[in-house]
Amino acid sequence: MMDWINGDGPDTDIVLSSRVRLARNIKGIPFPHRLDGQGSAKVVDMVKEAIDRNPVLAKDFKLTVLKDIPRLEAMVYVENHLISPALVQRGETSAVFLRKDSRVSIMVNEEDHIRMQVLMPGLQLEECWDLANKIDDVLEETIDYAFDENMGYLTVCPTNTGTGMRASVMVHLPALVLTGQFNRVSQALGQLGLAVRGIYGEGTEIVGNLVQISNQLTLGKSEEHIIEGLKGMTREIINKEKQARDALMASNRMALEDKVGRSYGLLTGARVISSRELMDLLSDVRLGVDLKFLDGVTRKALNEIMLASQPASLQKIAGKQLSDTERDVFRSEFIRNKLK
């Protein structure tokens, strides 16, 4: 189980999780989109060898070949942010090495030969980078990376060239949205070279007031600089969100408590809940937990509901295929049990 779900980590009232992803390729081997089955299998073997040579990594990581697992299982991994949708799309040739605690995944034959990601609860960007950097060092002892003195790590898409690093935080900003400040904040972030997206990655809409903020550029600045910049901005956003929450509490406490209470009532009383509706209700209830309006509801329960309510995860729990309508009914049952 991913430990960020427990909801304890630095600043978890606003930052759900931090993530660092490194893109790497192997010298002298065509990139995944130009490899056949045999070539791709060789890349998986090379990464496996690099991991096996290190006793610690060999013990902690487990290899999953995508074509060996049911698609539903793979989609559950995607919904849990352990692998990317692109890895599933390349399911014929791709694989993932997953660390036992689910904090680290090393994806093979995604867009690039290697994409390793470290995911931690709360605001822990430096810690994520530190761990990713160490694992990268270990892989590099065995694997010759595609690297250029001037251009840095060479990646399939030039938008990743250089550090190959994408660092991001997932933040919950209900008060900035409620007070109408979110768009301004979002614009400012854009001007500072940071990308603002929904939680399902590129091009996705923002749902449940959850936002993913990441660095746009990968070339020219060191990893530490990029992390420092993103961390600094995240701190700013945390402060802004806190100020907005304080302002709402001071001016509209009753309205706020009412909103939280109504959403909690819907979550526990409804018999049919779509995933979109759920995300909005969860946002209100999460804010209620942060502001201590609701006793006995934990962030952990809310995180579990958020993850389990996605289509593949829900069907896995149900142990059978569910239609859209059946899912909405089963989802509400699951929520009621969790919040009992």
Binding site: N25, K27, G28, I29, P30, F31, H33, R34, P85, A86, E111, N133, D136, D137, E140, E141, D144, Y145, A146, F147, D148, E149, N150, M151, G152, Y153, L154, T155, V156, C157, P158, T159, T161, G162, T163, M165, E202, G203, T204, L217, T218, L219, G220, K221, S222, E223, I226, S323, D324, T325
Partner: protein
Amino acid sequence: MLCDRCGKNPAVVHRITTINGKKKEVHLCKECAVQEKGMLIDDAFPINALLSSLLDMGTETPIKVEKLETVKCSQCGQSFGDFKKTGKLGCDKCYAQFKDRLLPLLKRVQGNTRHSGKLPKRIGDGLRTRRELERLQEELERAVKAEEYEKAVVLRDRIKSIKEGNK
């Protein structure tokens, strides 16, 4: 509304097209929409299209461009034209082979063409030392500008000792 195709599930994807003034509506459920071509939009951001349009902002004459685009990478066989279409390079060697055209593109999308982050450990200490010297030199210039002379002296000595150690 039920799906036009299977008639069982509720329709969740809708397409309305108007061709020669004739309006046509298609309503499908998720399952059927996946099978129908062009109904579900690819979820990836069209970064590739953007990249190639950036490339076309170059100044070369069309004839020269055409010639360049059919040249293939000696390692993976991908041409620059392929890259323009897909936004994906074929292998590490493509970077060296198409460098002249890639550098302006990197400059446009990244605002920079020089990596200053992590270096693979095994790349040789020479580059590492050169980079360290550059970094110290920059810091020294900053220190002098800020009139932090004590810091500047420390930096100068450090640079000197690295250079001497390298001889």
